[in-house]
């Protein structure tokens, strides 16, 4: 059975040159501690610095503004809690959206239990937030605005450059969860005016379990992992050198190949959407243009998501769903509900997220299996009435 991997939002495969870089490092020594005072430590520092500057270049930041972490979740936790605790004396109000990733949403819920106040701005049917609503929500005691760059479920790209202008004018720290966007669409931290940005390597063909937090110079933030002086005192603990080597190489390749990759992804995306429209009672989620180039989220009426993913998986096709059963939460996706999808239709949502290795032939095969699966499941559904 040939694997057709359409689940890049969960993790991207590792680029062959990234694998090579990690193996080369392992064969060299693969273990040096950058804080050591001898030549093995020095060699590790060189490797760390190189990776750091590659990640910085990807977002046009200074190397000293990159803090390596264990991934997007830690970066989000660090950014939000770090600012909340640093600025507690100034105020305790945070502005966000209703469609953030769990690592942002749950972190904010924890802060609310500690006495912080959170305003979650609603989104329109495309999942877009209006910068004017952000401006209206900012108060005198607002210390942080945290709004994701691109949504991981429906792919919508938020207008963060406009939001950055507002936060600059109002002197509020601006964090953006860029886990889905960094390495996939161009980012220049000065153009978008962010103070903090969360990055994850496994979204641009690097390994899982490693990421970074961009921290603009002079941003007040406290660490959430305390201990030694690594990462300039911003994040303690000996670094994940294997992961970081991979991340640096992946960042370098992302910068070079981004345009070519995206043009290919858009071709696949357009093809899929065109053919999805031939299936009745299917709805495409997200914005038609302001969207990640490789992500297609769609909801199928009368059918539940997990049952569709099983049928696709039986033919080797890997996709993701956000149905209640699949997420274990017994609730439909908060993102889809926020865009106005009704609960039942939201349960039948699939997300196809393409990668640079996918082909049109694979998409055709998947469509064939999908159509059969939908027909089969609809015939069993109490909600489907044959017309």
């Amino acid at each position: 059975m040939n694997t057709i991997y359409f689940d890049n939002v969960s993790a991207t495969p590792i680029h062959p040159l990234v694998k090579e870089a990690i193996i080369t490092y392992l064969q060299r020594d693969g273990f040096g501690n950058p804080l050591s005072q001898h030549h093995i430590g020095d060699a590790a520092v060189e490797i760390l610095d190189e990776a750091r500057s590659k990640v910085a270049q990807l977002i046009h930041a200074g190397a000293g503004e990159i803090v390596f972490t264990s991934g997007g979740t830690e970066s989000n936790n660090n950014a939000i809690k770090g600012v909340a605790f640093a600025k507690a004396k100034k105020g305790k109000h945070i502005v966000t959206t209703s469609i953030e990733h769990q690592s942002v949403a749950r972190t904010l819920r924890v802060l609310m239990r500690m006495g912080y106040q959170v305003t979650a701005i609603p989104v329109d049917k495309y999942g877009l937030v209006d910068p004017k609503d952000v401006e209206k929500a900012i108060r005198n005691d607002t210390i942080l605005v945290t709004i994701m760059h691109a949504n991981n479920e429906i792919g919508t790209i938020e207008p963060i450059a406009e939001i950055g202008k507002i936060t600059r004018a109002r002197n509020v720290v601006f964090h953006s969860d860029a886990v889905m966007s960094c390495g996939n669409i161009p980012i220049d931290v000065d153009n978008i005016g962010v103070d903090l940005l969360s990055i994850a390597a496994n979204q641009f063909y690097g390994p899982s379990g490693v990421g970074a937090l961009y921290v603009r110079r002079d941003t007040e933030i406290v660490p959430i992992i305390d201990g030694g002086t690594q990462e300039d005192g911003r994040r303690a603990g000996t670094q994940n050198m294997l992961g970081i080597v991979g991340m640096g190489k992946a960042a370098e390749l992302a910068a070079i190949e981004m345009e070519e990759r995206n043009s290919h992804l858009l071709t696949l995306k357009k093809f899929l959407i065109e053919h999805l429209k031939t299936i009745d009672e299917i709805y495409i989620n997200g914005h038609p243009d302001l969207s990640l180039p490789g992500l297609v989220s769609f909801s199928v009426d009368y059918v539940e998501g997990e049952s569709m993913t099983i049928m696709l998986d039986e033919e080797g096709i890997c996709v993701s769903t956000r149905s209640a059963c699949a997420s274990g939460s017994l609730r439909a996706s908060h993102v889809l509900i926020a865009t106005g999808r009704d609960y039942t239709t939201a349960q039948g949502t699939l997300c196809f997220s393409f990668g640079m290795d996918n082909t049109l032939e694979q998409v055709s095969k998947a469509l064939e299996v999908l159509k059969k699966s939908i027909a089969f499941l609809r015939s069993m559904s109490p909600l489907y009435k044959k017309k």
């Binding site: 049952s307 499941l377 069993m380």
Partner: protein
């Protein structure tokens, strides 16, 4: 998802899918809002389940459970069928992943509800789970009779509160 071979078989080749004209008992459980909904229809002859059919909106485990529970109940007496438990269904399926066990409860509940419905119809108590037979209509728009949200005309369930709006 890690499903046993038996579960995958019942999912890909479900037994007893469909409807029964004028069923003797109807059991419906779950709610599309929370992601699983099962309807079981039975035809009773003497005191045995002569025929049984299901329709399900739900995940792989839900479909497999519906198929297995109807297979276990077909041909049994009503008393025997009432004794079927969710554990025996899960066991016959070779086990279910932990977070899918609630599906096995739903399947057995639907079967038992169908049997109880048959008993209450027999007693002349009429259909217990009384369904509203129409959607309230005002000014050309349709409204859910329970929570008064606007709904599309031919919807079997109100998408806001999950209550049924039409007789299927």
């Amino acid at each position: 998802m890690q499903y046993s071979e038996v579960v995958m078989d019942h999912f890909k080749n479900p037994r007893n899918v469909g409807r029964i004209e004028n069923p003797d008992g109807v059991g419906e459980v779950g709610n599309p809002i929370c992601g699983d909904m099962m309807t079981i229809l039975i035809r009773v002859k003497g005191s045995r389940i002569e025929d049984i059919k299901f329709s399900t909106f739900g995940c792989g485990a839900a479909i497999a459970v519906s198929s297995m529970v109807t297979e276990m109940a077909k041909g049994k007496t009503l008393k025997e069928a009432m004794k079927i438990t969710n554990e025996s269904v899960a066991k016959n399926l070779g086990g279910l992943p932990k977070n899918e066990l609630h599906c096995s409860h739903l399947g057995v509940d639907a079967l038992h509800k169908a049997i109880m419905d048959y008993y209450s119809r027999k007693k002349g108590e009429g259909i217990k789970d009384k369904r509203v037979e129409y959607i309230g209509e005002r000014k050309g728009k349709c409204y859910c009779p329970y929570c008064d949200t606007e709904v599309p005309k031919a919807t079997p369930y109100c998408n806001k509160c999950g209550k049924p709006t039409l007789e299927h």
